[in-house]
């Protein structure tokens, strides 16, 4: 059994009155092992965000199953979905999604407060995570006072603080400049090196090249996958780039 198992996933969106049907995912299957760093690539509309939403229990699949560490997501009721996310998943979004009414520290603490933990227990934990991500001196600031890169690191800290089974990242570098992107990806790599499982959806070849495996999704199916193996970041970058070119020009992969 793999850590995350996605089997024959199908998602059809229906308009409100049952008129048009849009098939977002046709048949997606893949596994993620514990401690893996997997990137999912694909063009806009290829279904990668749909896939992430399903894994995040934000949406229900039409067919197929998702099992995370032995828990079938389909078996979780709507009312339990939120607490499942809170206790098992960590999120990093493109737009950071920090609450501007909270300081950085309170933003990081948010999931723990929602879990109902005590103030005295959780404060040291926020310090510890912030230290790991190098934002310890920003804890008292408000989101609008810090840069995009710092915001994203704060968001990472918020995702990490619950020791989630898996971190789901949706275009985490999408709103960052290249330097901040590099820094963030280094963080991801080091988090991953400490054993954290990460599933990342991205457009960016550079971001994907830091992953240990890249899945390519096109028209609702997993089209191809690449393992980094022993290759360097640059070599892997080249490989991904070539694959993407083939994908877009409609070539076949042998």
């Amino acid at each position: 059994m793999s850590y995350l198992e996605v089997q024959n996933l199908k998602k059809i969106y229906t308009t409100r009155f049952g008129g048009n049907k849009v098939q977002a995912l046709t048949n997606v299957s893949f596994n993620v092992e514990q401690g893996e760093f997997v990137a999912i690539m694909g063009e806009s509309g290829s279904g990668k965000t749909t896939l992430l939403n399903l894994v995040a229990a934000l949406d229900k699949a039409t067919e197929g199953s998702i099992v995370l560490d032995g828990t079938d997501l389909a078996a979780i009721g709507d009312s339990k979905a939120a607490s499942f996310r809170r206790d098992n998943l960590g999120f990093v979004f493109q737009e950071f999604n920090l609450l501007d009414t909270f300081t950085v520290e309170d933003n990081i603490l948010l999931p723990l407060v929602l879990q109902g933990k005590k103030a005295s227990d959780i404060k040291p934990k926020a310090k510890e995570v912030a230290n790991r991500l190098g934002i310890a001196d920003l804890l008292g600031k408000y989101p609008f006072e810090i840069s995009g890169g710092q915001k994203q690191r704060a968001a990472c800290a918020r995702a990490l603080i619950t020791d989630p089974k898996i971190i789901l990242a949706d275009e985490p570098t999408g709103a960052l400049d290249s330097r901040s992107s590099d820094e963030l990806l280094n963080q991801f790599a080091s988090i991953n090196a400490q054993g954290q499982t990460i599933l990342m959806v991205t457009h960016s070849v550079k971001a994907a090249s830091r992953a240990s495996r890249v899945l390519f999704i096109k028209d609702g199916v997993i089209f191809h996958q690449l393992y980094k193996g022993e290759s360097s970041d640059t070599a892997f970058y080249q490989k991904i780039s070539d694959t993407l070119t083939m994908l877009t020009t409609g070539g076949d992969i042998a």
Partner: protein, 663 residues
């Protein structure tokens, strides 16, 4: 040129969440305006007791309604426009200039005006009969069935609200023309620091309110000018103070809550407290407005209902008989003071001219004395004109013979004994009495009230003694009363007055200084008519303004919920993603809205309770002493208002929850 009206219709439709309540409110106001205008020329109301003065009052109240209509609609509209700046910004960027936008606004305003007017007039015409029936019942007149449309009301509603909508249109144009498109699009959601707690403003607010409370609570009904004046002076600091406290104090409160770790880092409070810390400064003003409107409603309702309910008891104490003649006599050239014997003689002769049942006549000596515990000094003040000091009391003296004659008793007193009846709220507490003239009297308390008209709002005692003549010289006045029961019209009363006057006129002899006669004729019926017309008008106006204020309050609440809902939508989406359950969201929203909506109600109830002291003092000035009825009315009004308020809160907070849940 078909484009503008079409765009206008579309934008009203797509903003129906904003415009539907707005049109509802303006048509409600137009309906009320029409009803007031229609009633102000209603023949049925004119036919009621005191109907003419009631109609005049209604006529004036039209202006009050128009004023509040302008105020409320102005605020509502500026809110609506603010919510639409983004839309106007988009129009602007798409190539419409501000003139084009104003063109759309013209049509929007016209549509709003026409629809509000149509709905309002229909409602007004339907409900005016009902309102008239209610008013006639309050005024204790008789209702006739009938249905009519007041052209006067229609005409004024059309004109006045055309003016109001025009002013509102001008304001909208002003708002849009002073903003630039980029700003308009970004208008919301700019990052900001949480407001700092401003101690200075908070403390200033507290000081202002404390000062106003002191001003009200030190009102002393011995000085009738002070009662009204102190209250009027207290109104402004209370309003300002309430704004300050809501704006600054609420931020401070949130800061204190945030400092308390175990309270703050609790999932019930975490999000709501942080949200409020940001919002209070901005919404503080709105909450303060709600608090003040609510205070006005509560005071108005409580006092008018309480006054109305006491009309009969005031009349009962003022009119032991249906008709009362009060005479004050003097000598024309003030060459000497009139004696009690002369006054009694005049009163008796007056009574002989009157044909009525339960006829009573008598004369009494009045003076003001200063002191306490049975020891007084006569001051020489005139109890009708001079301001009183704290320890002043009014004494009315009648001879034992008069007392025995009126009551039919045959009591005898020693020369150092008096009978004493306390006419005012404070009872006479001593068993001895002296006026500083070397005589000490033993007091025998009795319950006896001859006539309370002109009942003084300071301590007032009726004293019966063997011989009052030694106090004639120090009396500030000698008054005679003749009272009896008989149904008499105004004309009959004045005819009787004339008859009495002529009787004494023919009395005058050559070479003698004539009496100065000053006879007042009061009839319970006349007085009742006057009271009822005044208080009916006030209570009716109170109810109408309550409806108006309540509507404004609800709308204010509703718009607040909507705008905050839209602001918070993104926030709750994030929270949901992170793992906040639907239940947690509901409890958070509940605790937040409950605090924000409870606070104006609490403030209003505190303000009103303090103001009740003023109402009580004012009541005493009007000769109303029933404090229980005031308590009861206040409690009922509070309770009823709280219930209505909570219904409004429930209805509006649902709209917030719907928006943040993205439904």
């Amino acid at each position: 040129m078909r484009l503008y009206p079409r765009l206008a219709v579309n934008s009203i439709k797509s903003n129906r969440q904003l415009y539907f309540p707005y049109i509802l409110m303006s048509s409600g106001i137009i309906a009320i305006f029409y009803i007031m205008a229609a009633l102000s020329e209603s023949e049925e109301i004119k036919a009621c007791k005191g109907g003419h003065s009631l109609v005049t009052l209604l006529g004036y109240s039209i202006y009050i309604i128009a004023f509040f209509a302008l105020l409320f609609m102005f605020f509502t509209n500026s809110f609506v426009i603010k919510r639409r700046t983004k839309e106007f910004g988009l129009y602007n960027i798409l190539g419409m200039n501000k003139k084009n936008i104003a063109g759309i606004m013209v049509w929007e305003t016209l549509i709003m005006y026409a629809s509000s007017l149509a709905a309002g007039l229909v409602m007004g015409i339907l409900f005016s009969e009902l309102a008239q029936a209610g008013l006639v019942k309050l005024a204790q007149g008789t209702n006739r069935l009938g249905f009519s449309i007041s052209l006067f009301g229609v005409k004024y509603a059309v004109l006045v609200f055309a003016g109001i909508f025009f002013l509102i249109f001008l304001n909208s144009v002003r708002v849009v023309s002073f903003s630039n498109p980029a700003q308009m699009i970004r208008a919301e959601n700019l990052g900001e620091k949480p407001p700092r707690a401003n101690y200075v403003i908070g403390i200033l607010g507290l000081v202002l309110i404390a000062a106003a409370y002191v001003l009200v609570l030190t009102i002393n009904n011995r000085d009738s000018n002070m009662v009204i004046l102190n209250f009027v002076w207290a109104v402004f600091p209370v309003i300002a103070g309430t704004y300050f406290i809501f704006i600054a104090g609420s931020v401070l409160l949130c800061k204190i809550m945030q400092k308390n770790g175990n309270y703050y880092y609790n999932k019930k409070h975490f999000v709501s407290v942080a949200n409020m810390a940001f919002r209070m400064k901005r919404s503080g003003a709105g909450l303060a407005t709600i608090a003040i409107l609510t205070t006005m409603v509560l005071i108005m309702l409580t006092s008018t209902i309480c006054f109305y309910s006491q009309i009969q008891s005031v009349l009962d104490s003022d009119f032991p008989r249906q008709n009362v003649f009060v005479g004050t006599f003097g000598i024309e050239d003030d060459s000497r003071k009139i004696t009690l014997a002369e006054a009694e003689d005049l009163a008796e002769r007056t009574s002989s001219l009157i044909d009525g049942e339960d006829l009573v006549w008598y004369s009494k000596i009045n003076f003001v004395a200063n002191g306490a515990n049975g020891e007084y000094k006569i001051t020489g003040k005139n109890e009708r004109h001079d301001a009183f000091d704290k320890n002043d009391s009014v004494f009315s003296l009648i001879p034992l013979s008069t007392y025995n004659r009126i009551t039919g008793n045959n009591i005898s007193l020693a020369d150092d004994e008096v009978l004493l009846s306390s006419l005012s709220l404070n009872k006479f507490k001593s068993d001895s009495l002296s006026f500083g003239d070397g005589r000490d009297y033993k007091v025998k308390p009795i319950e006896f009230d001859l006539y309370s008209h002109g009942r003084y709002y300071i301590d007032n005692y009726l004293v019966v003694m063997n011989d009052v003549s030694s106090y004639e010289a120090s009396a500030s006045g000698i008054t005679s009363f003749v009272m009896f029961n008989k149904d008499m019209s105004d004309k009959e009363i004045s005819a009787l007055g004339k008859k009495i006057y002529n009787e004494f006129k023919s009395d005058e002899k050559e070479g003698e200084t004539p009496y100065r006669l000053n006879f007042e004729c009061d009839s319970r019926d006349v007085m009742e008519e006057e009271f009822i017309s005044i208080y009916t008008g006030l209570i009716f106006l109170g109810i109408v303004l309550t409806i108006l204020f309540l509507a404004a309050t609800i709308l204010l609440m509703y718009y607040r919920q909507i705008s905050e809902g839209h602001e918070d939508y993104g926030k709750y989406r994030i929270l949901k993603n992170i793992g906040m359950t639907a239940k947690d969201i509901r409890t958070t929203v509940d605790s937040m809205t409950l605090i924000t909506f409870l606070s104006p109600l609490v403030a209003a109830i505190v303000h009103t309770s303090v103001a009740m002291y003023f109402v009580y003092q004012f009541m005493i000035l009007q000769g109303m002493f029933d404090i229980r009825s005031l308590f009861l009315t206040a409690a009922t009004v509070y309770l009823a208002f709280t219930v209505v308020y909570f219904i409004c809160y429930k209805l509006t907070s649902r709209s917030y929850l719907k928006i943040v849940n993205g439904i």
